[in-house]
Amino acid sequence: MTDIAPRAVTSGGRRRPGGGGPRAGTVIAFLTPFFLPFVLFYLVPVGYALWQSFRVVRRTGGQYGTSYTTFGGFDQYTQVFQNSEFWNSIGRIGLFGIVQVPVMLFVALVMALLLDTPLLKLKAFFRITAFMPYAVPGVIAAIMWSYLYSPQLSPVVDLFQRIGLHPDFLGPGAVLWSAANVSTWLWTGYNMLIMYSALQSIPQELYEAAKIDGATNWTIAWRIKVPIIAPSIVLTTVFSIIGTLQLYAEPAVLRQISSNISSTFTPNMLAYAVASGNNYQQAAAISVVIAVITFVLSFGFMRLTSKKAGL
């Protein structure tokens, strides 16, 4: 003990003021390759979108005057909030999220819990089949499912018809849920694996004590395992909320075969449609609003759940 203290002092004295470690130049050399593109392609676009969203296009003189952009205050935002298509797209995606996210995460949780019990055989097979869709990009997943939805080609529609049912997966009421099914197919296994990894890191001794007290597998699963992996469940929920609000590729593909998906079906599709009409300021305002809603919902959910857990 006595000879450790002086050594610490000498090594502290040898170092440059401001802390140990490498020179400032070296630190900058490690950080710049990431931070330069991060600033250019993440922070600058965010700032640019914000700036654009406060601009408006005006014309000098009458209809034939030249156009110029100028500061417009909250004009663009007022327009967003007065746009019924915006609220429709938010409503659609809200309904989608309220149903699809809990269903998907519940299935993922049940699978993770079952994979974590001795009840199950062929675990590797079940784990791999569930995770496999994660390798498929959203566009290709939607193309695959659109063939299973199409009345001409689908073997699933065939099967239903044989038992006298005539489902219309692309009909006005059903198409939202057909899109939800593509998302569920894509992401259940990924979320399951996050929860399963968390379950695997719980020490087994914890269960043994419960078993001695006579707890069943069911009680252990819902009373011990689920509360312990609650942070993972919160994490997957936040990821799912973010993903839902960004929805674009899947409905865009289904739109190619269904007239029941408009060009403004989701908030992102609306933003793209508005930008395609060269109204970049309005598109920027829509993007900012979507991003703010995403932040508020994800943080709100995290706060809510951590308060409930008393953290």
Partner: protein, 285 residues
């Protein structure tokens, strides 16, 4: 505990659990199975035969048509996908690793601030960036080039976050200190010692970034008009939109989808253990 009634009960629940898991497995496999069956059929039999049963084996002809259509544009899309997703993820992993390592192992002022900026970046949805990036890139003239998709794709705040966690866990501080005492420069220490200890972590970061780029449809769609620059996803999307006018494209969309997902699925299954380490670290927070 092992009286006959509990054994019967556990057999019953075992069977129920297996049945449930098999149903879910069928759900996950069905679209891929359908795709395999459809890719082996001639175009004319797609609508006339049962979608879940094989008929005339025409896979090789379908592949020939796929790769020769429009002067072999599909091969070009595949190559582009490799450039965007594989090369992009490789470069991205390198810069994330350098940055995450520095944030974990070097002490300097503003370290925590920089890390929280990166964490904020994790929550920025990439689709929100595509439109403003398009405007910025059109002003600089790199819209509709490889760089327009490649450059934004190499940035992964989540990769930096993972690299910092992994560097903390895998590289002992004493090792870095002793390398310094031996007079090795920081870069030499990183490339010859630390990066080796971090290799499994780097594979995980690479995989996550690969998926992010492979999945990012919005960015290339906003940036690219020239077909020869498309990644596979955008190309197949365009073809899929033309099938109403050119129904013969259908078979190529199906075969092309199969050709592009099979190698990725195989690699993912082979590298399974890296996913699990990454997902476990991601949920630690």
């Amino acid at each position: 505990m092992s009286n006959p009634s509990t054994i019967r009960e556990s057999r019953g629940s075992r069977a129920a659990v297996m049945a449930l898991m098999f149903l879910l497995a069928i759900y996950f496999l069905l679209p891929v199975y359908f795709l395999i069956v459809a890719a082996t059929k001639p175009q004319g039999e797609l609508a006339t035969t049962n979608g879940l049963a094989f008929s005339h084996f025409n896979l090789f002809e379908n592949l020939r048509i796929l790769f020769t259509r429009s002067d072999g544009i599909f091969g070009r899309w595949a190559l582009n996908t490799v450039i965007y997703a594989v090369l992009g993820a490789a470069v991205g992993t390198l810069i994330s690793a350098l940055c995450g390592y520095a944030l974990a192992k070097f002490r300097f002022r503003g370290r925590e601030f920089l890390f929280s900026v990166v964490l904020g970046g994790v929550l920025v949805p990439t689709t929100a960036l595509a439109l403003p990036l398009f405007l910025l890139f059109s002003a600089t003239g790199i819209v509709n080039t490889y760089l327009a998709v490649f450059l934004p794709s190499i940035v992964s705040p989540f990769g930096v976050y993972l690299a910092r966690i992994f560097a903390n866990a895998a590289v002992p501080q004493e090792l870095i200190e002793s390398a310094r005492l031996d007079g090795a420069g920081e870069f030499r220490t990183f490339f010859s010692v630390s990066s080796r200890l971090m290799t499994p972590a780097l594979v995980t970061i690479f995989l996550f970034q690969f998926v992010a780029i492979w999945n990012n449809f919005f960015l290339p769609m906003v940036m690219l008009q020239k077909e020869s620059l498309f990644p596979i996803t955008l190309g197949l999307y365009e073809w899929n939109g033309q099938t109403a006018r050119a129904p013969l494209l259908q078979e190529s969309v199906i075969t092309g989808s199969l050709v592009s997902i099979v190698p990725v699925i195989i690699v993912f299954i082979l590298l399974q253990r890296f996913w699990r380490t990454g997902l476990a670290a991601g949920s630690l927070k």
